[in-house]
């Protein structure tokens, strides 16, 4: 849903009413029929009403012409979320065999003005598909992401371009740059995972490299959930113990008095995995895990107190010697 309430344009001073446009005289506008007692009415401006009355007439006649093309532009400006307008515009572009490079320029401007609108990004994607040319796409999305580094639409478009046109080569450098600017940019971490998963994959060697990469970032900001999630994600198809060092890394931070809830949670997960795998010193391990759950509940993650108590209970009931003691 569009978050933008900026409607038409007091700025649009040059707007000419249709009665003053001789080229439209032959067409009879079609009013909207909302019935005798309309609900959730839009407070349409005169301009909006007129443009759309003519748009309806164009659609009814299925007219694909230069004037129809320019009308879609007016209609889209008044409501860039109108997918029917964009769809019809694309039909005209095809029918008239228009220069799609020009269209790409135009939609760039529209997206810059409406960066969180689904319809305009979809329009761009179709045009790129038709052009089979992604020359500008990485640069363009980069520009949008400069304004809002977490813009979901821009990332989706970027991922689609990369997948569709195999633009994998430079992307890790870009991600690296973004993470150096803001190590909490979760979208950039996600992009890192996307790239590696689809290129080299998480081989043993890559996992080692990525563990180090994320751990370096974690050392800089131990409370950064994004880096922790990435580190755990790297290992999601393995056991935390296939790659010795995770628990040691945690111990290292813990011994430096770091008490990030993500750190402690990771330690609990390591212990849980040891219990799952039936490693020796079961009771001791369970006790350590339970104690860390208590630390989180009482001190370091009190907002999630109930959750950590629940985790402690479920560990005890799964791995405790005396299950009946848990109530």
């Amino acid at each position: 849903m569009s978050e933008c309430n900026v409607d038409d344009a007091a700025s649009n001073e040059a707007w000419v009413p249709f009665k003053d446009r001789p080229e439209w005289r032959d067409l009879k506008p079609i009013p909207q029929d909302d019935g005798p007692d309309p609900v959730v009415q839009i407070a349409y401006s005169e301009q909006f009403r007129e443009v759309y009355d003519y748009f309806r007439a164009i659609i009814a006649a299925d007219e694909k012409s230069e004037r129809a093309l320019s009308l879609t532009k007016e209609a889209a400006e008044l409501n860039p979320a109108n997918y029917s307008v964009w769809n019809y515009r694309r039909n005209i572009l095809q029918e008239l065999n228009k220069d799609l490079k020009e269209e790409l320029k135009y939609i760039s401007q529209v997206i810059e003005d409406n960066p969180k609108n689904y319809q305009v990004w979809h329009h761009r994607r179709v045009i790129v598909e038709w052009l089979e040319d992604v020359t500008d796409e990485l640069k363009f999305t980069e520009k949008i992401l400069k304004e809002d580094a977490k813009n979901y639409h821009a990332w989706q478009h970027r991922q689609w371009c990369i997948q569709q046109f195999s633009l994998w080569d430079q992307e890790l450098d870009y991600v690296d740059r973004l993470l150096k600017e803001d190590l909490r940019n979760n979208s950039a971490w996600n992009q890192r995972h996307f790239i590696i998963k689809n290129t080299t994959g998480y081989t043993d060697e890559i996992i080692k490299k990525e563990l180090k990469y994320s751990q370096d970032f974690i050392r800089k900001a131990p409370n950064n959930e994004s880096a922790w999630n990435y580190m755990k994600g790297v290992l999601q198809e393995r056991k935390l113990f296939d790659f010795p060092g995770v628990l040691e890394f945690c111990h290292e931070l813990y011994s430096k008095q770091i008490r990030s809830p993500f750190l402690i949670a990771c330690m609990i997960d390591c212990y849980e995995e040891m219990l799952e795998l039936g490693k020796p010193k079961k009771e001791e391990t369970l006790q350590k895990a339970t104690q860390l759950c208590n630390e989180l509940a009482e001190e370091h993650d009190t907002l999630r107190r109930e959750y950590w108590q629940y985790i402690a209970r479920s560990l005890a009931s799964k791995y405790g010697a005396d299950v009946s003691g848990d109530s």
């Binding site: 849903m1 569009s2 978050e3 309430n5 038409d8 079609i30 909207q32 029929d33 909302d34 019935g35 309309p38 609900v39 959730v40 009415q41 839009i42 407070a43 349409y44 401006s45 759309y52 659609i59 009814a60 299925d62 409501n79 860039p80 979320a81 109108n82 997918y83 029917s84 769809n87 019809y88 689904y118 319809q119 990004w121 979809h122 994607r125 179709v126 977490k150 979901y152 990332w155 989706q156 991922q159 909490r184 940019n185 979760n186 996600n190 995972h193 689809n198 131990p222 409370n223 959930e225 999630n229 990435y230 755990k232 790297v234 999601q236 949670a265 907002l303 999630r304 109930e306 959750y307």
Partner: protein, 378 residues
């Protein structure tokens, strides 16, 4: 926009995490639900909408208002408009052509923008190019009708299902309109809702749908809009609710995946809930994330007091309604989802909701009754 300016002082200094909360807890008058104001706000939405950009999605905005009034237990406030609203929603239904050639276009539109006539008998004869339904509008039309107490007897059920089926893509996802659109988890969810409501799953290839959902589970443990997209509170709601409606939640996800998902969701709580790590809390996620936690049976593990305070801090004491952040302009979507978020945590005076379909329990019970009648007939 507040998202952009949201700075993250390294919150190793722990208190900054709660700054939002401290700020709003000082503003008095916001510690209780301004029920009357919200009723006024939503009734106004039903009259007239603030933005021309909502044009093609009008019925979904009407749904926010109608369902919001239901959650406020205030349906009697619009008793006199009930028939008119029902009639208007039905006027948005694409009428199936007797020849059956427009079946793939059937369902509901969001408004009368393309020029169809209000009178459905007259509209039947109209042939407007590109005049197809929109999956999100079909979903919100159906739930609105249910909330208004309609029995769906005028819904062309088979045609609507055919319309849904025509929107599924080869990867299992759905587009919103036949003419083409982005395809993602939102529309998967809408498709599941429509099939569930009409009690007819021939509207999709269920296995493909489930595969699409599980493939969109990200390394973070929650769902993105598509495979490899960033995990997000909104798409996670859509994915989990779809699995619930499909009755596949526990078979599609492993125990391990479910516990990671629960943790990711609970970690979204800062004061209210965020949609992604390292983003600020926003009212709507008290529903998106809260409802998902509810469906997974662990909403009780969240901090209700902080959640409630945050949502209440986004009320507008002047106009009524809720905004995404404190002291922003309220809008219909955040007003509705704010109320739902509060209902989930048992706010007194609000009706309980059925989260998977995003309507009141009362309206859900009405649907269950209808479905029983339909089944008996067959």
């Amino acid at each position: 926009m507040a998202t952009k300016n949201h700075t993250h002082r390294d919150y190793d200094s722990k208190s900054s995490k709660y700054d939002d909360y401290i700020n709003f807890s000082t503003s008095m008058s916001r510690d209780e639900l301004l029920k009357k104001k919200h009723i006024t706000f939503l009734k106004r939405v039903l009259q007239v909408l603030p933005s021309q950009q909502l044009d093609t999605h009008r019925v979904s905005v009407a749904y926010f208002a109608i369902s919001g009034l239901d959650v406020l237990d205030a349906m009697k406030e619009i008793d006199d408009q009930r028939n008119n609203l029902i009639h208007w929603i039905y006027s948005l239904q694409v009428q199936p052509d007797p020849s059956g050639k427009n079946l793939s276009q059937c369902g509901f539109r969001g408004c009368s923008m393309l020029g169809h006539l209000y009178d459905s008998h007259k509209a039947k004869g109209q042939l407007i190019p590109y005049d197809s339904s929109n999956i999100a509008m079909t979903y919100t039309s159906l739930v609105s009708l249910l909330i208004l107490g309609d029995d769906l007897s005028q819904v062309h059920k088979k045609s609507v299902i055919a319309g849904i089926r025509s929107l599924q893509q080869s990867d299992g996802s759905f587009v919103s309109v036949l003419e083409g659109s982005e395809s993602d988890m939102r529309f998967v969810y809408c498709a599941c809702c429509v099939c569930y409501i009409l009690d007819d799953w021939t509207g999709m290839d269920v296995e493909k749908t489930v595969a699409y959902i599980t493939q969109s589970l990200s390394y973070e443990g929650a769902f993105g809009q598509k495979p490899f997209n960033e995990a997000h509170g909104g798409s996670t709601f859509c994915a989990v609710a779809s699995l619930v409606l499909l009755d596949r939640l526990n078979s599609a996800l492993t125990e391990n995946q479910l516990s990671r998902l629960k943790r990711w969701l609970l970690r979204r709580q800062e004061s209210g809930f965020t949609g992604r790590p390292n983003k600020p809390a926003d009212t709507c996620y008290s529903f998106w994330v809260g409802a998902t936690l509810q469906m997974l049976g662990v909403l009780v593990l969240s901090d209700v007091t902080l959640n409630r305070s945050f949502v209440l801090s986004t009320q507008s004491p002047v106009t009524g309604g809720f905004s995404k952040y404190p002291d922003h302009v309220p809008d219909p979507l955040h007003s509705y989802l704010g109320l739902c978020g509060l209902s989930l945590i048992g706010e007194p005076g609000l009706s309980p909701i059925f989260p998977a379909l995003n309507l009141s329990q009362r309206a859900y019970d009405h649907l269950s009754n209808l479905q029983r009648q339909w089944r008996e007939k067959h």
